[in-house]
Amino acid sequence: MIHALLFLLAFSGFVLLCAARDRHQRDLLGRKLPAGATARLRRGGLFLLLSAYPVAGLALGWGYGAIEWLGQLSGGALLTVLLLNRLSARGTAGR
């Protein structure tokens, strides 16, 4: 359960960070966001990624938690990148 939660935190954190990027907003959201919303997304994404460490540390111990946290971050980032790749491929085909 804790593993799935950590993955969810990592994945959603990276999705927010990705949505905070001007160049990816069209693929991910279909439109450009105003600067204020972008900054909030970036802060929210960073918060999710960083908050996953104390969650992992409390549940698995600080040493094991750190390893699992870093591993889950990689996994979450990978899924985000693959998702963006799919969405942008669809966007290009539709346009």
């Binding site: 960070l17 990816h24 040493g63 094991y64 699992e68 889950q72 990689s74 693959l82 790749n85």
Partner: protein, 523 residues
């Protein structure tokens, strides 16, 4: 000056990466497989039906077995195969009255019954290969592997400098766009997994540091042996003094486990059945992060603790923890899956880097239909490594099922078969035009992996569907993984076929310089 520095780093990255890339690919692939070493070994010994049992009762059952089968021995060692395999590996030294060819090892299942399994080194061989190689003196092999790991470290650091836009391009992965896609795949597989890739390279170097830098030992110990005695104590049996019954093993193991708070992993008994008997209980390698294990020594007649070894010095603990991080023996199934995925990313990083070298240079060749020798060599070595080693590993699994069970040196023959298959791919790559060779070798690798579950189902009674129905997750997942790997290579072969056709078309059209590949960026 800044661009000068970046350019020199790019040069360093390109050439350290290329020169040792093929060896690094082999190290990464076999090392990644080692995260499932126990599971591979279980698949390769289908005769062993794993019976889960708690370790303490396993040690008791194994001791009873040794009392019956090796009564006069001067030394018994019982290793639990860990929480993932639930078995026991026994080694013993026979007494002087035993015949010279009497057995000295056996494998028991979790209940203490001897199992008869085919002779194979299983997943352990692939693990061992990733730092000791094969057909090569291990001393020099470790130097080679160390040089490759050092090159890897240089390539990572210079690669970070070379990659101008790590954060800007963090999420970028554009497929189907030739050179740019290879660069994106190379970047994504290394940047997203950078914590793992840095850790695995650095801790890999640490694990053999005393091999590469013996001067620390030379300064503090009279010789290498003295150091190993201090770091890895290995008491030997004393002179026998007269018979006395062995203390019960169960309470001794329990007492050791209670005092550490972690499970015991092995029990060594010196002079069993003698007044001088000693029982040495050592903690389990998968119970903690450090690979340096604790041990407690008990009097073998009274069961009273007489000594303890606890490698808790700061330097030893740091080294042990780093090696532990590298090997991930402690990892839960989830973390193990993350380790494995990160290892695969490392394989893809090395492979895409090697391929990128040729893709970047192909566009600039004076005559792309007749490239110069260096280019052809790299191209062919890429095929030999990237398709050849996986093909060899698939053949290793097939040989495990197909070689006759009774032949002499069976485990060596399995290994030889793997290298013959790997070599055959290399020869094929040399003999054929690169474009065809990619398609053919990738297809062959896909076919070889796809045939592993088929051959398993035909030669054992533990085929995929039987395992699935029986809830045998190790066998079902192994067969499933073979299909997934086959699908991956099949997909790569399809891509190679399409590219081959596209290039054939372009060769006809290549008359004007206007259709040079656009968007070529120096990296």
């Amino acid at each position: 000056m800044k661009s000068g520095f970046r350019q020199s780093m790019a040069w360093l990255h390109t050439w350290t990466g290329l020169l040792l890339g093929w060896l690094l690919f082999a190290i990464f692939v076999t090392g990644t497989s080692a995260y499932f070493q126990e599971e591979i070994t279980r698949w390769m010994t289908p005769e062993v039906q794993s019976v889960p049992a708690d370790r303490a009762s396993g040690f008791v059952a194994a001791t009873e077995w040794l009392k019956r089968e090796a009564p006069g021995g001067s030394e018994w060692s019982i290793y639990s195969t860990g929480k993932r395999a639930a078995g026991l590996q026994l080694y013993w030294v026979n007494g002087p009255e035993a015949p010279a060819d009497a057995p000295t090892s056996a494998r028991l299942d979790g209940t203490g019954t001897k199992v008869f399994a085919r002779e194979t080194l299983g997943g352990w061989f692939l693990y061992r290969f990733h730092y000791d190689l094969h057909y090569l003196n291990w001393y020099w092999a470790r130097w080679l592997v160390g040089i490759a790991a050092m090159a890897m470290l240089i390539a990572i650091l210079s690669g970070i400098v070379t990659h101008k836009k790590i954060l800007t391009d963090f999420f970028l992965l554009r497929l189907g766009k030739g050179q740019r896609s290879w660069l994106d795949v190379h970047n994504a597989s290394s940047v997203l997994f950078l914590p793992f890739i840095l850790m695995i390279t650095y801790t890999g170097l640490v694990s053999l540091a005393t091999h590469y830098m013996p001067w620390g030992i030379a300064a503090n110990y009279a010789n290498q042996d003295k150091y190993f005695e201090a770091a890895f104590p290995w008491p030997v049996p004393a002179e026998k003094t007269g018979p006395a019954p062995l203390a019960p093993i169960g309470p001794i193991v329990e007492r050791a486990e209670r005092s550490w708070g972690v499970a015991a992993g092995s029990v060594r008994i010196l002079n069993p059945g003698d007044r001088s008997a000693q029982v040495i209980v050592t903690s389990a390698p998968d119970a903690g992060m450090s690979v340096r294990l604790r041990s407690l020594t008990f009097d073998g007649v009274t069961g009273v603790p007489v000594g303890a070894y606890d490698p808790s010095g700061a330097a030893t603990a740091t080294e042990g923890t780093m090696i532990g991080l590298h090997a991930g023996r402690f990892a839960s199934p989830w973390l193990r899956a993350l380790y494995f995925m990160s290892g695969l990313a490392g394989c893809i990083m090395v492979a895409s880097g090697l391929i990128l070298w040729t893709v970047k240079r192909r566009a600039k060749l004076p005559d792309p239909d007749r490239p110069h020798f260096g280019f052809r060599l790299v191209e062919k070595l890429n095929i030999a490594a990237i398709a050849g080693l996986p093909f060899g590993m698939a053949v290793y699994f097939l040989a495990n099922r197909l070689l006759p069970l009774g032949i002499a040196d069976r485990s060596d023959q399995e290994i030889d078969t793997m290298f013959i298959a790997w070599g055959a791919v290399a020869v094929w790559a040399l003999a054929r035009p690169a474009r065809n060779a990619w398609l053919e070798t990738l297809s062959a690798t896909a076919l070889a992996f796809a045939s592993v579950p088929v051959v398993n189902a035909l030669t054992t009674d533990r085929g995929f569907f039987t395992s699935l129905a029986a809830g045998d997750s190790v066998f079902a997942v192994f067969d499933g993984a073979m299909i997934l790997i086959a699908a991956g290579f099949g997909w790569a072969a399809l891509k190679a076929a399409r590219r081959g056709r596209a290039q054939g078309g372009r060769a006809m059209a290549r008359r004007s310089p206007t259709d040079a590949i656009p968007g070529v960026e120096a990296a």
